[in-house]
């Protein structure tokens, strides 16, 4: 099935693009046993991009679940497939990208029935985008239209998803909800009159306009200064509770995960290598990559003697290109604990700690 349709109704998300969908393959275990109550279940997701150099599998067999009101953080470096995983849910690829989405993306509607978003045609998917699931991106400047006031962009989202309400008043309320001071005046501002942090707040207001049940935040603070990042992180945590949303938080920074997530999935080279409750994963990581990612953050210890210890523990090498590793563990080439079999054997995501801590490593028991 090919649908070249673009989002003609001017929703604040990136327009849809040509894509194909194939039925899900028999896959790996889902991340959580609570599948009857989960809001979103991604099963054996495989997203490939057709490029001049062939098919690039950016995401390769990812399974994730998200319960209502839960925050799942997906962490990874560039090329890990974390953003493509999130964008595959609503097929929000860049215009011109030729992407194929395989697998199942089961979304539970308010009436309890489920819908496989991967099987949904573009027009039907459009009714999910924004209304049920909203997205905010890294660069709020690129997501806002420079020729319209922020108020008119919020009102547009309101009229589309919540007709019959007083859009003028709700737009001001939304701006107040996202912590913009003097919202009655700011509603008439153009994007260029606002700072980066303020624009991200406006993007969040637009995302909230339709009271989504899931907010996908793709590196929402990466372009912001650290003090503004702290403000936005706190805002997201507060709004999530206030609006009763689930949150899918995509980040490269394990440091941000501690503040916001209930559960974490760490991705590497298109796969989930470890997932579990945030405290366990940060304090007792099982996968060598998760450990290395925690340890490679620069640290300095101040000794009583006055001597300082500076700790720099890089991970040797660089992440592999998508599709370049055909067998074995994808992290093996950079892993300090690899054995010969790591380069050869198939490594599955296995349950490490009940109920839902998973790890993809042949040696996790020996290393624990």
């Amino acid at each position: 099935m090919i649908a070249g349709a673009q989002d003609k109704d001017g929703s604040p998300v990136i327009a849809g693009t040509p894509y194909t969908v194939s039925p899900g393959q028999a896959g790996e275990p889902t991340g959580s046993p609570a599948s009857t109550r989960s809001l979103l279940e991604i099963e054996a997701l495989r997203t490939e991009f057709l490029t001049a150099r062939g098919r690039l599998p950016a995401v390769d067999g990812v399974s994730l679940t998200l319960s209502p009101g839960e925050t799942l953080a997906v962490v990874g470096e560039s090329g890990s497939g974390k953003s493509v995983t999130a964008l595959s849910i609503l097929r929000l690829f860049n215009r011109g990208d030729r992407a194929h989405v395989h697998g199942a993306i089961r979304w539970r509607l308010a009436d309890g029935s489920t819908l496989d978003l991967a099987q949904l045609a573009e027009p039907a998917l459009r009714s999910i985008r924004g209304r049920e699931i909203a997205v905010i991106f890294q660069d709020p400047g690129a997501s806002l239209d420079p020729v319209f006031t922020v108020g008119s962009q919020i009102r547009e989202a309101l009229r589309k998803h919540r007709p019959g309400e007083n859009a003028e008043r709700t737009a001001v309320e939304l701006l107040r909800d996202v912590g913009i001071a003097d919202p009655e005046r700011r509603v008439a501002a153009y994007p260029h009159q606002l700072s980066g942090g303020m624009r991200q707040r406006v993007m969040i207001a637009i995302a909230l306009a339709c009271r989504p049940r899931l907010l996908i935040a793709d590196e929402p603070t990466t372009a912001l200064d650290v003090t503004i990042q702290a403000q936005i992180m706190r805002l997201l945590a507060d709004l999530k509770n206030q609006y009763g949303m689930a949150l899918l938080f995509i980040t490269h920074d394990l440091g941000l995960v501690a503040e916001i997530a209930d559960r974490v999935a760490v991705m590497y080279a298109g796969q989930v290598v470890e997932s579990g409750p945030v405290d366990q994963l940060l304090n007792h990581p099982l996968h060598p990559y998760t450990r290395a990612l925690l340890e490679c953050r620069p640290k300095r210890h101040y000794r009583d003697s006055g001597e300082d210890e500076r700790v720099l523990l890089p991970i040797p090498g660089a992440p592999p290109r998508p599709g370049s590793i055909e067998r074995g563990c994808r992290f093996a080439a950079r892993c300090a604990h690899r054995e010969a079999r790591c380069m050869l054997d198939t490594v599955d995501l296995e349950l490490a700690r009940a109920p839902d801590a998973h790890v993809r490593c042949l040696r996790w028991r020996a290393l624990a």
Binding site: E77, T227, D253, D279, P298, P316
Partner: protein, 339 residues
């Protein structure tokens, strides 16, 4: 104010680089009938860097840290103030004198993808710098290129490869090799790892640190990332809206900050542990450098602001032990316990 910048740290070698009350203002385009606004990117900043010393420079966007790095290298002219290098006033140096100077002060930039010519082989890119600065014998240059590539953790064979064949981290290594080719005494590193993945950052930082010690290289290390600066710097300077808020030896600044802005920055930095909420939360955002607040420029975001902060401008005051800070309030307890 300059006088208070002299550091009571024994022993005190003469500084390699000294900026004395350097300001840089940019005139912005006039809007309609109003007078052309002036953006005060740097306002009377003084600093010294000793030979072999690493001075970290932190601040948010708009703090003036990149402008400061460029002014130090004379890539941007100061509006006022003087720049001294190896004891000589270089503020007005031009032409050949300036070019000779450039061999002793080099820069590494943030984006390793933009700083290498894609149509030039890696070896040629380094060779070009050697030629420009007068290493004329081709055999000597070939040897130096090989040695430089090995010094930064690449192999001599990499000289005939193209930049596109290298990852971001490897390109930054090439950029470092290029900067060190002329044996500088000062390196300005402006966000040298910000474009790299975290797993690669530590390797570049370790390389910079070992080269810095091996070559007794002085460094002005600029970053928005507090943990990166903490591990690299001997001393740290905190800038806000082009003004110095605090300067201190790294340990003192990170374990016992004396300025509310520094404390706020430290509290806002993400940590990979579950902890209590930050003690100091900074509200609002950095104001426009074209329209800075009166008195203390930080007062609009300061949790400890008092009325006099709008009227009096704090001076950079020497607290002893090389610790300087610009804040009117000396009754604050901002210290964090040693970890």
């Amino acid at each position: 104010m300059t006088g208070s910048m002299r550091l009571p740290m024994p022993p005190e070698p003469p500084p390699l680089l000294a900026l004395r009350e350097v300001s840089r203002h940019f005139r912005l385009p006039r809007e309609d009938w109003a007078a052309a606004p002036v953006l005060r990117a740097l306002e009377s900043v003084s600093l010294t860097i000793a030979p072999g010393e690493v001075l970290g420079l932190v601040g948010e966007s708009g703090s003036g840290k990149s402008t400061l790095g460029r002014v130090a290298l004379r890539l941007i002219e100061p509006t006022s103030g003087t720049i001294e290098f190896e004891g000589a006033d270089i503020t007005a140096r031009t032409g050949r004198g300036l070019r000779e100077l450039r061999a002793r002060m080099q820069m590494v930039f943030q984006d390793p993808y933009a700083s290498l010519n894609p149509k030039r082989r890696v070896g040629d890119a380094i060779d070009e710098v050697l030629k420009l600065h007068g290493v004329s014998a081709p055999t000597e240059r070939t040897e130096r290129v090989a040695k430089l590539l090995e010094q930064v953790g690449l192999s001599a064979d990499d000289r005939s490869r193209w930049p596109r064949e290298f990852s971001g981290g490897q390109r930054q290594r090439i950029a470092i090799a290029r900067a060190l080719a002329v044996r500088p005494r000062l390196l300005v590193a402006d966000e040298p790892v910000s474009a790299l993945d975290v797993s690669v950052q530590a390797g570049i930082l370790a390389l910079l640190r070992s080269l810095q010690r091996e070559l007794n290289l002085a460094m002005l290390f600029i970053s928005h990332d507090l943990s990166v600066v903490e591990v690299m710097a001997d001393r740290v300077m905190v800038l806000y809206l082009g003004r110095v808020m605090e300067v201190a030896p790294t340990r003192a600044l990170y374990t016992a900050p004396r300025h509310p802005y520094t404390a706020g920055l430290l509290a806002a930095a993400p940590r990979a542990q579950r902890g209590g909420r930050p003690a100091v939360v900074l509200r609002d955002e950095i104001p426009s450098p074209a329209d800075p607040p009166s008195g203390c420029v930080f007062r609009t975001r300061c949790p400890f602001v008092q009325e006099r902060c709008a009227v009096e401008t704090p001076r950079l005051e020497d607290l002893g032990g090389g610790h300087l800070r610009a804040c009117l309030r000396n009754d604050l307890d901002l210290g964090r316990p040693l970890s």
